[in-house]
């Protein structure tokens, strides 16, 4: 088991290295210099050169790359071009809303998606199955920014059940904060609930035709027990993987959701930084998202290996 974890950890480091290199390439090999963009229209060549020197952009790309990687390894993510704040501290201040939103949405997507998929598989071919799959298909195709706007229109503007936008931290006002989370969590979770439902159904159906279930049935085990006791548990292993992928994707999806509901999270920070061409901040946020995604995948792999020992030896 430890060998497996070490191997996966190594894989994660390689992935992080590749992503950080890609991020560096994308944000550094740009046509047009960041200094020119920061200074705007009425800049003089002297100002541009001075700012380039100040930002360290007068050195060659490979030198900057080595320097940047070294800084990352020592935990230095640089300072913002926009204001002189440290990238790490700005991101740390924006992390909480994103994490809470993503986890809430994931719980919601699992709580809706898995029962929906199970019901559809158990009643395969009936109207119930058909209805569940139509719901899942619709959920998977809803653009989440539009869903968010519709929810705001109905539940905030027409019926005033939930606030239309904003975020209140659980730590500041525990009783109030959940009301700000309901609509964003539905917005972010809906499409993944649809995908999870479809996969849960497919996985359960695949297991249901297995030989050992036929054996169980022929021994006279009741159908209810066959499904709950045997089929469901085995079908949950691949379904769990889908949930992991969904959680990783939701971290990205939260960018749009935060924009719709004006939630001051990491996603909003990324958009603000893109609009300001604040490249150190962009790099920092992307690396953070990459790290979160990699950690989710690592956790999924480990739980997978605990649930299904065969995976450890692949």
């Amino acid at each position: 088991m430890w060998a497996f974890i070490v191997r996966r950890l190594g894989g994660m480091l390689v992935t992080m290295f590749i992503i950080s290199t890609l991020v560096f390439i994308i944000t550094n090999v740009v046509p047009g210099s960041p200094a020119a963009l920061i200074l705007g229209e009425d800049r003089t060549p002297d100002q541009v050169a001075a700012l380039n020197r100040e930002l360290g952009l007068d050195r060659s790309v490979p030198v900057r790359y080595v320097q940047w990687l070294g800084d990352l390894l020592t935990g230095n993510f640089g300072t913002s071009y926009y204001n002189d704040n440290s990238v790490a501290s700005v991101i740390a201040g924006r992390l909480e809303p994103t994490l809470i939103l993503t986890v809430t949405a994931a719980i919601l997507a699992v709580a809706i998606g898995i029962p929906l998929g199970i019901v559809a598989a158990v009643y395969q071919g009936t109207r119930l199955d058909y209805a569940a799959m139509v719901v899942a298909l619709i959920g998977a195709a809803l653009p989440n920014f539009w869903l968010g706007l519709l929810l705001i229109l109905l539940f905030a503007l027409y019926w005033s059940v939930f606030p239309a936008a904003g975020y209140v931290s659980v730590f500041d006002a525990p009783a109030d904060s959940w009301r700000y989370l309901v609509l964003p969590a539905i917005t972010l979770g809906a499409s993944h609930a649809g995908v999870i439902a479809r996969m849960a159904r497919a996985n359960l159906l695949e297991v249901m035709s297995a030989d050992y279930l036929r054996t169980a049935r022929s021994k006279g085990v009741r159908e209810r027990q066959v499904i709950l006791g045997h089929a469901l548990r085995n079908s949950m292993i691949p379904t769990f993987g889908v949930v992991g992928v969904a959680l990783a994707l939701m971290i990205g999806g939260s960018i749009v959701t935060e924009a719709v509901f004006a939630i001051p999270g990491v996603g909003r920070l990324l958009i603000e930084s893109v609009l300001r061409r604040d490249f150190p901040m962009i790099q920092g946020v992307i690396l953070l998202i990459a790290l979160l995604v990699a950690l989710v995948n690592l956790a999924v792999d480990i739980v997978y290996a605990i649930l299904d020992p065969r995976i450890r030896y692949e």
Binding site: V14, T15, I18, I19, L22, V23, I26, T27, V29, V30, P31, G32, L137, I138, A140, A141, L142, P143, F145, W146, L149, L150, I152, L153, L157, A202, E206, A248, L249, I251, G252, G253, I255, V256, A259, L270, I271, S273, V274, L275, R277, F279, I282, I286, I289, A290, V293, A294, N297
Partner: protein
């Protein structure tokens, strides 16, 4: 995968004619399934609306008539789907928006397929490069696509071309992975070994024998990529970093309409509905095509 799919025939001989006839037969029976027929029909409708936008649209999509601002949809009032905050006709803007979505979707699908096929085939032949490649591809694919697209757009600037470039970059790995997997599986198939034994050069075997057999799965992926590209473009535009505000695209209409959500909900309703239906449709179409062209991968994906 050992048989040549009917659509991959070279069609130069008698067998080709027979195969084309079979392909027509399969196509006809495939279209007889309501889900497939509706999916195909609606997609064709959106493409037609986009292509014919200048002919059908009652107004110029940028035509501003402040006195007619925020008019609700009406069958008789001259503005079928209402007007926006500048009095522009939503129906006309929707038609031109379909054009943008189709251009973005089709360009991204074509470009990412071409690049992805080349990378995937090459990766399938060179073991060392293939392994290296798969590492990068898995790294990129494990990553939320919109994040990379945002980074690229931050570097390149916002424009239609740059959105297409960014989304192509993001979706190439999907195609490359599928083609790579197919190539690895096909390389040991007897018909490929036979072609090699008969003296077929590597390039010739790859292009004439392996490539045609990867096209089914690529078409299936392409359908889904079209859907993702439409959503991603609209998301980027909605976030203010995709297409410039002046464009008539579904994402722009949505982003502008959001300030008038309560007063004029129709501005956001129609483009959102259009994106939703197009994506729903492409997903259904993709599922149908997968059953037809790539039955084996159903379980894998």
């Amino acid at each position: 995968m050992s048989e040549t799919p009917p659509n991959a025939g070279t069609g130069a001989d008698d067998a080709g004619g027979a195969r084309a006839a079979t392909a027509r037969g399969i196509g006809a029976s495939w279209l007889r399934k309501p889900a497939n027929a509706i999916g195909f029909g609606l997609f064709a409708l959106v493409v037609a609306a986009g292509l014919l936008a200048p002919l059908i649209a009652p107004y110029d999509p940028g035509f501003i008539a402040i006195r007619d601002r925020l008019e609700p949809p009406s069958l008789t009032g001259g503005h079928l789907l209402g007007t926006d905050h500048l009095g522009r006709d939503i129906f006309s803007r929707m038609l031109y928006g379909a054009r943008v979505s189709v251009i973005v979707g089709a360009s991204v699908v074509v470009l990412s397929s071409l690049i992805g096929i080349a990378i995937g085939l090459f990766g399938g032949y060179s073991r060392r490069f293939g392994n290296f490649l798969m590492r990068i591809i898995d790294g990129v694919m494990a990553f939320p696509e919109i994040v990379f697209a945002l980074a690229l757009i931050a570097a390149l600037g916002s424009s239609l071309t740059n959105v297409i470039i960014a989304l192509t970059f993001v979706y190439v790995p999907r195609v490359a992975r599928v083609v790579h997997a197919c190539t690895l599986a096909l390389r040991n198939q007897e018909f490929v070994l036979a072609a090699e034994a008969l003296g077929g050069g590597t390039l010739r075997v790859a292009v004439r024998h392996i490539l045609p057999n990867t096209l089914g799965p690529v078409v299936v992926q392409g359908t889904f990529i079209f859907a993702y590209a439409v959503i991603s473009e609209a998301s980027l535009t909605f976030l203010g970093v995709g297409l410039p505000p002046g464009t008539a695209s579904w994402g722009v209409i949505l982003a502008e309409g959001r300030n008038y959500l309560l007063d004029a909900p129709w501005i956001t309703t129609f483009p959102g509905l259009a994106i939703f239906l197009l994506v729903l449709n492409l997903n259904i179409l993709g599922d149908g095509l997968r059953d037809l062209l790539d039955p084996r991968s159903r379980k894998l994906l």
